[in-house]
């Protein structure tokens, strides 16, 4: 059984990848904001947890980072999706959709359907 943190990390990683896929290169705050906007409460308390996830993704080669200038003219770290990251996103999206579909069907089943 996966740790709760691992589950959260896995979801976060997928969200971060999707964000970068949709919006292009973005700094950590930007990713956090975007996830927050879409997911609601999930990240409101602990935006900081995003950074270890980004580090892991970078180590795995799914994203790359470089220094750039943010909208308030400060030095900021920008992340972008790499080719292997895009592939990973596609694969994970598929598997996620499959899982979601199965789980969805499973929950839709009611007791009387099984009789």
């Amino acid at each position: 059984m996966k740790d709760k943190a691992d589950v959260l990390q896995g979801t976060l990683a997928l969200m971060a990848l999707k964000t970068l896929d949709v919006l292009g290169p973005l700094h950590g705050y930007g990713i956090a904001r975007r996830i927050e906007q879409i997911s609601g409460d999930l990240l409101t308390v602990n935006q900081g947890t995003l950074y270890p996830v980004l580090l892991k993704l970078e180590q795995e080669g799914s994203i790359a980072s470089g220094w750039g200038v943010s909208e308030n003219n400060r030095k900021a770290r920008f992340y972008r999706l790499t080719r292997s990251g895009r592939k990973q996103l596609q694969a994970e999206t598929r598997s996620w959709e499959q899982t979601a579909a199965i789980i969805g069907r499973f929950f839709a089943v009611k007791a009387e359907h099984l009789k």
Binding site: Y51, R74, A76
Partner: protein, 924 residues
Amino acid sequence: MRALRRFFRRLWSWAATQRDEERLRLEIEEHLALQTAENIRGGLSPAEARREAMLKFGAVEGMKEDYRQQRGLPALERPIQDTRYALRRLRMAPAFTVATVLILALGIGATTSIFTLVHAVLLKSLPVANPGELFRLGRESNCCYSGGYSFDKEFSLVSYDLYKYLRDNTKGFAELAAFQASFQTAPAMFGVRRSGSPEAAKSYGGEFVSGNYFTMFGLGAYAGRTITADDDQPGTSPVAVMSYRLWIEGYRSDPSVVGSVFSLNDKPFTVVGIAPPGFFGDSLLSSPPDFFLPLNMEPYVEVDADLYKYDTHWLDLIGRIQPGANPAEIEAQMRVELKQWLLQHWSEMSAADRARFPQQTLYLRPGGAGITSMREQYGRWLQILMTATGVVLLIVCANVANLMLIRGLERRRQTSLSLALGAPVSRILRESLIESMLLSLLGGAAGLAVAFAGTRLILRFAFISATGFAGVPISASPSMPVLLFALITSLVTGIVFGGAPAWIATRVDPIEALRGANRSTARAGSLPRKALVALQAALSLALLSAAGLLTTALQRLEHQDFGFEPDGRTVANINARLAGYRTEQLPALYRRIHDAIANVPGVSSVALCLYAPPLWGWGSGVFVDGRPAPQPGDDNSAAYDRVTAGYFEVVGTSILRGRGITDEDTAISRKVAVVNEAFARRFFGTENPIRRHFGYRPGASGELEIVGVTRDARYFTHGLDRPTGPMYFLPATQADYTRPNVGSLFLHSIVIQTKPGSLVTAAAVGQAVASVDPNLPIISMHSLREQVTNQFTQQRLIARLTSLFGILSLVLASIGIYGATANNAGRRVSEIGVRMALGAHRGDVIRLVLRGALGLIVIGLSIGLPLAFAAGRLLASQLYGMNPNNPAVTLWAVLALALPALAASLIPALRASRISPLDALRTE
């Protein structure tokens, strides 16, 4: 794939820690700035906006920790961190560290030095190519020389003819080589002189080997060339290969040695090459050979040659099998060949040989270690020593474990604090284990130095070789296997002594320790410590008792009634054969040597003999006149010695009946013999042997008349523990010197009795012999007492080493008992104070403290006594007939352990009794 990439990235980040820290800090700063700006746009005041931003970001330190975990390699970092921490802790306790490392060094060093010997003697292969492909003839190494067409157990030696038959018919061997079997652990001796050199001949070991000897071993020459099959033919020019050792030490690696002519036993040989460094021949010997000569040169050097005798078996065989050949098939094939060869010689075989024909067989065994006579000779005592060092190492472990336990107790509060703050138990265990590992590795490193020194010392005393001869080819410097052994021993030691204390250390209840007061019921940890101390005492008792048994057995050997007088006698050894004498020249030579030495000042009498006691070398069958011929299976063998007139008086053996050998026994007088008591008993029972006749050949039983019976003198015929066997003495004058070059005609020893109070130096004897013939070297000269004690070198070494280990274990056990008692007394200071305040006397306090220590000693003794008896039973075969259950020795061992142990516990007891009650109560 991704995991691998991540691993390398993490490895890289780990190396570049600083930059990443900075990057994270900047990223957090930027994040907070952006969020704050956002919040301000949302209408918050700047201070409030910043606060909100930080709240939203969450716990920075926790995140950082998480980030670091992700970034580097904690699995790699933490042990390094722990090691650094452990080193710092060890540095802070220098006394503890130094003491522990020293104790460990002694234990690991002793074990490693004995292992160096075990490895060299019992485990190592010959330094040749692919030793795994080599197979040797014979299950046991058989000494040197055997006649006839049958063996009792197996054909482990072969004649030259049988060798050629086996070599030419066994196709499974790529090469099958033969070489002269060595006598015990020494090679045959040659008198060697470089041609044209004015120096006297020196004697060096040499060995006759077949032409394919070096090819079979896969060895080339270091310089020049090796002997080849072409050199091993009758009638070719004589060549020899010199050992690397002699070339370096004797001739200072003079390149002109190769190609120059040396005379060996007065026969010229061309040295064609130098054997490779480190090659010490086919067997591990205490003095390896320095010359390798082709087998076919044997008749050239020895007049009484063995080479062409079909029934004289004097060659060992080692062969290299064809790749993929099956040794079992080769063995089966060789057995058939042996039978075929024997059948070819059926007409020459005696009735006894023919009767034993069906049982004749041979065995092929792995030969990568060569001919392992040394293995058989030293194996047993190396096992004893290895066991003894193992016990010492156990005691060392127990001792250090005890120190670690005490240290763990001292650190109790720190451990509980760490646990209370959330340190995982595994981490504390690991820290503790790393500390023990560090200690044991340091101890192991120091132990290597101890081992090196120890091995050199043992080698010097264990394998005595005369100066100028090659020493035993065992190096004291640690080889790879020895280093590995020391490393593994250290690690295992570390786990053994560190594991339990580490576990106990983690079993503290945080609350308990934090409640404070050192007075807390800390007795919880004292049971394992007591057990350890008792264990040390028990093991130590077993070792002490073993040492006592071995020492007593040695003393009995050394102080037995030898039947001759070892004091006031000197023995000089010569070898006229090395100076090129022919047998017919010998009687005159002996007379002249006798007269020359008799005239040396301080000499009271002199006699020559084939060998002086306690050595032994020659034997024959005995055929008594008027008795039926002995049947096969009857033991009619006896040892014999050839001596000059007055020999018994010179060595101090008394004549019981008749007379000794005198000047009346000349070459033309009737042939006589003097026999010892064992001879008289064996062959004549209660009859009077005087004037009876016997012979040493069947059909010549009237040859010798017995004129005297002597006391049994100890000539160590077969072993130190065997009773003296039958022996007869012949006058040297009556030997048949017309027989050319018969070995037993060359008398080797000159026994010199000195006048009381005077000293006869080697130089004076040397001069006297040189005045007879300057080319006749004195090979060695010892007092007869030395010659006797040299027989017990091995026994003495084992006894001394075991005693040394026993004393070491005793010291360690005493330290253990001292430590336990002192610690116990220290913890009871306040209790003692209360007791004294309530009126207890000093005596009561001493008794109180001693009672605990005494209990430990008694438990130790009661476990140790059965161990000691078990050790005695194991040693029984090494005690030369002494009963291993020797109450005196046991008592001695018990006292040797109990007294120092009591003394060790008395010190803290006395100290405790001097506590002032006031001070004691104040420590609350």
